[in-house]
Amino acid sequence: MRKTHQRRVIIGFLAAPVLLYTVFVASPYVQAFYIALTDWRGLSAEIGLIGLGNFTELFGDPVFWQALRNNLLLLVTLPIVTIGVGLFLAFMLNAAGGPRSGEIRGVRGAKFYRVVYFFPYVLSIAIIGVLWKNIYNPINGLLNGALRAVGLEEVQPSWLGDERLAFWAVLAVLVWNGIGFYVVLFTAGIKAIPASLLEAAVLDGASRTQVFFRITIPLIWENIRTAAVYLGIAALDAFAVVQIMTGGGPNDSTQVGSFYLYQNAFSYGRFGYASAMGVVLFVVTLALSAFTLRATRKERIEF
């Protein structure tokens, strides 16, 4: 009696969420694998199975390779720059004053800075794309305006229109967008370090740099790992910024997998080909997450 009642509750509570999730999330991921094996263009009812044809074509597609190269470059640069700057700022905010009387002293106004740094992170990435496209505008954007204001009328890069600069301009926007989140993440880690540990280090004559590299970083390693995985996922995406700011150009210098997939599906109607790309990116993401987690594994330090 009690058992059947309980079963009714379990089914009743789970039915709607499981159904919704299966239809809109799980089933598309599964279907992607099947569509990837077809030459489907969406309009025709007939779907031709072409086996691995899409994958063969994909591996011979120079634009796809360029996109992957850019994703990989983002995958290296985005975490390094973001974690580097984020750690530096978090350390300065929280521990730069050094420990005194059992307290980790932050600088004055630490809370204010954390609030301000977080502003870009709460905005929609699409809105950020529109905003920065205007900032990079070579004629009446904020950046070239600043260069003119300090007398550099000669130096007026076209930023997103310059093949050598566009990628770095995109990277800068992604860093600007994310820093605040990682400052908060690292702050949480630093605050959890017992002040007595830092105090002991300072008494033993450790400099700030030593405290940072020998104590802070090892003790918040878990947070740094989390950051690396999150940033890796962001680097493999980068869709909105690329779509809005550069459209993958100039000359594919900012092309990324997500945007090339979108173009193939919704501009060229090549659904099979786009799905094959999705499958490849899916495998790459899985492999890289597993690799990151393994490569950064360390003994967890309990304190």
């Binding site: 509750v9 509570f13 789970l14 569509i35 809105i127 009446n140 997500s258 997939l261 979108y262 993401t285």
Partner: protein, 298 residues
């Protein structure tokens, strides 16, 4: 989370009072540190202030000097963006979709998480991993099939479709977070209510949900911001511009405005789009930070 907040509060008390030296001095290193901190604060906020300042300028002013302040405050840019550029419509659509999406997400994820956290049954851990597997992969990988699933259900170009899809993609994190939260709640109260003859549904809605309020607030804020900022999903699922959401409508406007040249209207639109989320954040900063980093700090 409660203990973390407490620790922070007590620490602030300790530093705030009776120790005049705290936060001052420290020599040149601190001065350099402060300079960097100020520099990044300026970098964070200047682009946003620039958008707001430009939204109050005239087009010739914007073109003449991007660094100038508005000669007079041209509020008509906002009226033009709201009416002519349809920002008002997009705003309304966003409110509807995000309102529906957040409420439905909270309800469904709480129901699923409650059962997964507190009942023993055969498929329990399989279902739990089934849900959280969805956190690992970016949406764009399933973009093509998702588009056709939604079309085939007759939900293309509809706000209802967006609500359902937003909710479905919000479930993995929300379920993951709430399962952990429900596990921390004490058994005894629910047991006592059961002995008093309370049904399971009543226990859930009258006892467990109110007890889970802090967790629901965190998940609610996380999803509010995530869904408000959603871009890729509406871009793919909605192409009728009377159904656009804010981020999508604005990006579209930026492309059109490139030809039409109404830059001040575009900046007004940008300001309107940024304002609600920045206001929510300014009012609830601590909670927003906690909500948005909740997943990473588990």
């Amino acid at each position: 989370m409660a203990t973390a907040t407490q620790a922070r509060v007590s620490r602030r008390d300790a530093t705030g009072r009776g120790r005049p030296r705290s936060g001052r001095g420290g020599g040149p290193t601190i001065a350099v540190a402060q300079a960097f901190l100020v520099l990044w604060a300026v970098i964070s906020i200047l682009p946003l202030l620039w958008a707001v300042a430009s939204s109050l300028k005239s087009d010739p002013e914007i073109v003449a000097d991007p660094w100038s302040l508005p000669g007079s405050l041209r509020w008509e840019n906002f009226a033009r963006a709201w009416e002519t550029a349809s920002i008002g419509t997009y705003f309304g659509n966003t409110v509807l979709v995000v309102g529906g999406g957040v409420v439905l997400t909270l309800l469904l994820s709480a129901m699923a998480a409650y059962v997964l956290a507190r009942f023993e049954f055969r498929l329990r851990s399989a279902l739990y991993y089934f849900f959280i597997a969805g956190m690992t992969f970016p949406v764009f990988m399933a973009l093509v099939p998702l588009f056709f699933v939604v079309q085939n259900l007759g939900l293309g170009n509809s706000l209802t479709g967006l609500v359902l899809v937003y909710t479905a993609y919000s479930l993995p994190f929300s379920v993951f977070f709430l399962v952990a939260f429900f596990r921390t709640l004490p058994e005894e109260i629910a047991e006592a209510a059961k002995l008093d003859g309370c049904g399971e549904a009543a226990i859930f809605f009258k006892i467990m949900l109110p007890m889970a309020k802090p967790g629901l607030i965190s998940v609610g804020i996380f999803n509010f911001i995530g869904q408000w900022n959603q871009y890729l999903i509406p871009l793919v699922l909605v192409n009728d511009d009377s159904k656009f959401v804010l981020a999508q409508g604005l990006a579209n406007l930026a492309v059109e405005q490139g030809y039409a040249g109404d830059r001040s209207g575009l900046f007004a639109g940008l300001t309107i789009a940024m304002a609600p989320i920045l206001i929510v954040y300014a009012l609830l900063q601590g909670r927003v930070q906690a909500g948005m980093t909740a997943g990473a700090l588990k």
